[in-house]
């Protein structure tokens, strides 16, 4: 497992599309460094015989009929939109 010094909070924040102040970056670097040091203990274990468990209960391949049903109207889907026009979500320009 990687050492905690590998964590570059500023870089990861960019991946997460989350701006941080310098003070937050510094604080998280220290605090998450401690958390990563704590989780190092998982390296002690031999996990070669264990299958990765996605969750605790065995459920696999849940299917349902592909049947049409009533759901949101466009108006309902837009009811919480910060900006909208003509039934569309308005966002900053993406392509020049």
């Amino acid at each position: 497992m990687a050492r905690d010094s590998d964590l570059d909070v500023a870089y990861v924040a960019r991946l997460a599309r989350l701006n941080l102040t310098e003070a937050e970056t510094e604080l998280f670097q220290k605090q998450l460094g401690d958390v990563l040091k704590y989780v190092e203990k998982l390296r002690e274990l031999n996990v070669s015989g264990a299958e990765a468990a996605a969750h605790g209960v065995p459920i696999f391949n849940v299917f349902r009929e592909d049947a049409p049903r009533d759901w949101f109207t466009a108006e309902e889907a837009l009811s919480n939109a910060p900006r909208q026009t003509d039934g569309l979500f308005i966002v900053p320009k993406v392509v020049e």
């Binding site: 991946l15 599309r17 996990v47 990765a52 459920i59 910060p82 900053p92």
Partner: protein, 492 residues
């Protein structure tokens, strides 16, 4: 029985009054509203209330239904159509849920009336409700202490007689721990037992919805209403639901209770240890056989939990992008600036911390070392439980290593806060069920603070842990004690 006495009652007691027409659902709602006005200024359990809509439901309530006419408080991370659903985050300020969670439909079908939304740690991330981005919730037993979390608002409401019962969610202990810290009952059902459709997702492989109530019987009554398969939640189990309330009255003769040696470790508050030891003796005197068991991977659970939960949270919270709903930043210069600042301004510090950690453990080059390894250790933890459940019907432990702590006592060091989940998060990792019931008091600075006993059960064996908790509760006096702030009004 006068109107001012009504809020002190539990659901089972209300039912009989309602059915005998000694009180109407409208009177009940009004009594609750009056109580909230007096008490919640100090406790701060609620984020929003809609008594107007609730009154309309009360007018046509059918009191002969299982929960007919009973108002139920809802943690503000579960969608109730037309109501706010803030998740205690500024990023969802002003948002109104456009549809109902399945549990809300089920509660209404059973006759219950959702009337208010309760405070929580932002997006359910925390163990003290101090991470709420909206307000502080205080422990009704001692207002300078936290109510636990993340379902701290639901727990404080029930403990201060401002709710007859409430729904919470439990991802690493968020129902059981606040229940313990406020002296009430909290049940985390088996993963898949209760539909999560309409619950705002935090960690999808761990989250479950469950009840917080004054008594074990009340928890059984709410479970009867909300448990069961839902085609809208692909992780929901298609298994029959027993009548949990009918199953309650069983004595404990022949029941085998496992005492995991790893759960009585250093770091437990001595008063908590004393109370648990006494509870174990008491259960033994009721006929239960106590067997020593071992869950050898317990010490790794918190580490596994914080890798998996943050990884899943970082993915789930990617949807808060300021495009379709929620907060949006002003005048972004481009799309990246729009995302980066919307999320910077909308999320609080703990949510940001977890998004960073979760993104890191999933990032290229680290996935195998952290996320994949944690999933494998999770399987070892699950196997630990499978093995001990061959020898024991249920397991006993403290719910929390400490009673309620002071505001600010643990916020400086996130790791210390994370370790308060040490006895509760293994059940979420393994997908099993667990319940907390009060088993004593700690005396701190001449104040009494409740202590919780946790019972863990096999997958889908909620009926069993409810039975044991009920037998314990009914043969002890703890559940009759009430928080000072509620007591002054009970006897007024």
């Amino acid at each position: 029985m006068t109107a001012k006495d009504l809020p002190a009652l539990g659901i089972a007691e209300l039912q009989s009054l309602l059915r005998q027409r000694e009180v109407s659902p409208r009177e009940l709602l009004e009594a609750l509203r009056d109580r909230i006005e007096i008490v919640d200024r100090e406790v701060g359990a609620y984020l929003s209330l809609d008594f107007e809509a609730a009154a309309k439901e009360a007018e046509k309530a059918n009191v002969d239904l299982p929960l007919g006419g009973v108002p139920i408080a809802i943690k503000d991370i579960i969608s109730v159509a037309g109501q706010p659903c803030t998740c205690a985050s500024q990023i969802l300020r002003g948002y109104r849920a456009p549809y109902n969670a399945t549990v809300i439909g089920k509660l209404r079908a059973a006759g219950a009336i959702p009337f208010g939304k309760t405070n929580l740690d932002e997006f359910a991330m925390g163990s003290s409700t101090e991470n709420s981005g909206i307000k502080l919730t205080r422990n009704p037993w001692e207002l300078s202490c936290v109510p636990g979390g993340s379902s701290g608002g639901s727990a404080a409401a029930v403990a201060s007689d401002t709710a007859f019962g409430a729904l919470g969610t439990d991802t690493g202990g968020s129902i059981r721990q606040p229940a313990a810290l406020t002296g009430i009952v909290g049940l985390k059902p088996t993963y898949g037992r209760v539909s999560r459709f309409g619950l705002v997702a935090f960690a999808s492989s761990l989250d479950q919805i469950g009840p917080l109530t004054k008594t074990v019987r009340d928890a059984a009554l709410i479970m009867n209403a909300i448990a069961g398969h839902d085609p809208q939640d692909s992780t929901s189990l298609d298994e029959p639901v027993p009548d949990y309330a009918v199953a309650l009255d069983h004595d404990l003769r022949g029941v085998k209770l496992g005492l995991p040696k790893e759960y009585m470790v250093e770091g437990i508050d001595p008063q908590v240890k004393t109370a648990i030891d006494a509870a174990v003796k008491h259960l033994n005197s009721l006929g239960a056989e106590i067997v020593d068991v071992s869950l050898p991977h317990t010490e790794y659970a918190t580490a596994v939990y914080y890798i998996l939960a943050t990884a899943e949270a970082s993915a789930n919270l990617a949807r808060f992008d300021g495009v379709r709903y929620g907060y949006r930043t002003e005048n972004p210069k481009d799309l990246l600036d729009h995302y980066g600042r919307t999320r910077e301004e909308g999320f609080g510090p703990e949510v940001k911390r977890r998004i960073i950690l979760g993104t890191y453990v999933l990032s290229s080059g680290y996935y195998d070392a952290y996320y994949l390894r944690a999933q494998k250790v999770r399987e070892l933890i699950r196997q630990d439980f499978s093995k001990v459940f061959e020898k024991a019907d249920a397991l006993i432990s403290p719910t929390s290593p400490v009673p309620a702590f002071k505001f600010g006592e643990r916020t400086a060091d996130p790791l210390q806060m994370y370790l308060t989940d040490i006895f509760t998060c293994p059940a979420n990792l393994a997908g099993i069920c667990g319940i907390s019931v009060q088993c004593g008091f700690a005396e701190i600075d001449e104040k009494r603070l409740p202590i919780g006993l946790q019972l863990l059960g096999k997958p889908l064996d909620e009926a069993r842990i409810l039975q044991i908790a009920h037998a314990f509760e009914q043969s002890t006096e703890w559940h009759k004690a009430c928080a000072p702030i509620a007591a002054t009004l009970r006897n007024a």
